[in-house]
Symmetry: C2
């Protein structure tokens, strides 16, 4: 079982296989820095798509040897995006990654019915593995980036994606908490109705092997002491592997609080695609960017 | 300016005035422990309302001298609650506090039109001051406990309560962030429409002196570096004093994450009442319970 993000990197290295990453609109110091680090570790080979002259300049300024990368010239943002996606779709690359191109334009290429990367009919969502010094294992959190207010169908997809990722980390029976403000179902929260349907589905075996419970608050999900004090019976039992949140306004402040104030690092990935797709926020730390690339390799 | 919860305690002690607290259904080891600590510090005198024999037993077991407290015998949970509230209303006590009585029954007594403690027409809400080692000052968060999904009117009340509390802590021009998942207004979040009305009201001077901005994510609200990287112009500028959240499913996981994983302590208080009313969760830490009592004294 993988308990830290560095253990995840070791796991990927144990495959002894370099994954090829196609980076869309790559002339961004931040992105190239992360790519260079992953390449140095022997995780990846990179194909940098974008304005060649600019890419070379950035490499020179950062003291990075650009001959380590394949460079593909592209004069246009949207063209670079669709080229990265098409290369990944065709198998010329294993992983697609957003560079300086706007998220909207990049996701448009991912979602393109004909040339995109979506699994037909799949929900586009996002899962991240968060590492915090004061928790004894990784915490998989969904959805912190894509779906504003997930429907029941989307919540089910989110649960499945998170369970699939947790299993790749060697967790046989992930504990999944459906997060709310309290463990008492409330008529005020739409999420709570969806949660009760999901609990029924879990009892009937519609999910992969797991221990699901909700609604739960964060204390009951992640703190054994709170479970004892409150004397609540829950299979999650303060040892959640996965936190499924009711909305982006709920998940996003939570994970950002952990990043800022709890020494958190993360590895996150888009889900619902045929091949891994990396979309990173510019405000993530250097380490988190590196971990995102490693996670894509693990899930490829 | 008060920057820590211990500085808040010092401030209250500098008043050289003991506040009288009426505790409803007080036969609870946890509650009595917190009350005893506050009494030992010279912050309060306590009136313990409930089953006298049981209260004495708990004190004996904890090695607490119950003659330090006034004891008022009451055989019934609801009666104890309404007695505590009536004593506070009449001036026999300065502060009302929930003991072992259920939150619903206690709040029913607080909300009672004839004998309760509400300011006529006021919104019942909750503000807490959170202290975390990795932030350079206190963070006032609202509403982490009472209003599930606040309306615009309730959000305005929440902002006013938090601003009032921040001023009591000596913050002249509090920076208040209206929290969402990103700084870009989204049609998916109802909160964002309310925020735009509040921003207009702030520009027109409807709030006490403050620097308000929203929607903002947690990075832009609380991290100067993120503001620089993203080059967003915001008066909050990564130095928020107050975080106003769009819902309980958003605020509650956030603050609980900080408590569990970021070494957080808090002091929280019900707002909208004529006199301070303390409602503490059993899963709060010993220190947080003590700080809640001290905060009630500061706001009395």
């Amino acid at each position: 079982m993988i308990r830290t993000l560095d253990q995840m990197v070791e796991k990927v290295l144990s495959f002894h296989r370099k994954h090829r990453i196609a980076v869309a609109w790559a002339q961004d110091a931040n992105t190239i820095g992360a790519i260079h680090k992953a390449a140095s570790y022997g995780l990846i080979d990179a194909i940098l798509i974008g304005q060649q002259a600019e890419i070379k300049n950035i490499c020179r300024r950062a003291g990075i040897d650009y001959s380590l990368f394949s460079l593909v010239d592209s004069p246009d943002e949207s063209e670079a995006a669709s080229l990265a996606i098409r290369m990944t779709r065709s198998g010329d690359a294993d992983i697609a990654m957003k560079g300086l191109v706007g998220t909207d334009k990049f996701l448009k290429a991912v979602l393109d019915k004909k040339d995109g990367l979506m699994i037909p009919g799949a929900v586009l969502s996002y899962v991240c593995a968060v590492q915090i010094p004061l928790y004894h294992k990784l915490l998989f959190i969904t959805d912190t980036a894509v779906i504003p207010v997930p429907s029941l169908e989307q919540k089910i997809a989110m649960a499945n994606y998170a369970l699939e990722m947790a299993r790749r980390f060697g967790i046989r029976k992930p504990r999944i908490a459906l997060v709310s403000a309290t463990e008492k179902p409330s008529r005020h929260f739409i999420s709570n109705s969806d949660y009760s349907v999901m609990m029924k589905m879990a009892r009937e075996g519609h999910f992969a092997e797991c221990l699901m419970d909700g609604p739960l608050d964060i204390f009951l999900a992640c703190d054994k002491k709170s479970v004892e004090i409150k004397r609540v019976e829950t299979p999650v039992n303060g040892e959640a592997d996965i936190l499924l949140f009711p909305s982006l306004e709920s998940s996003n402040p939570f994970y950002k609080g952990l990043m800022l104030f709890a020494g958190g690092e993360l590895a996150g990935l888009i889900r619902g695609t045929e091949k891994p797709v990396i979309v990173m926020s510019r405000s993530e730390s250097e380490m988190s960017k590196f971990y995102c690339i490693a996670l894509a390799c693990l899930m490829a």
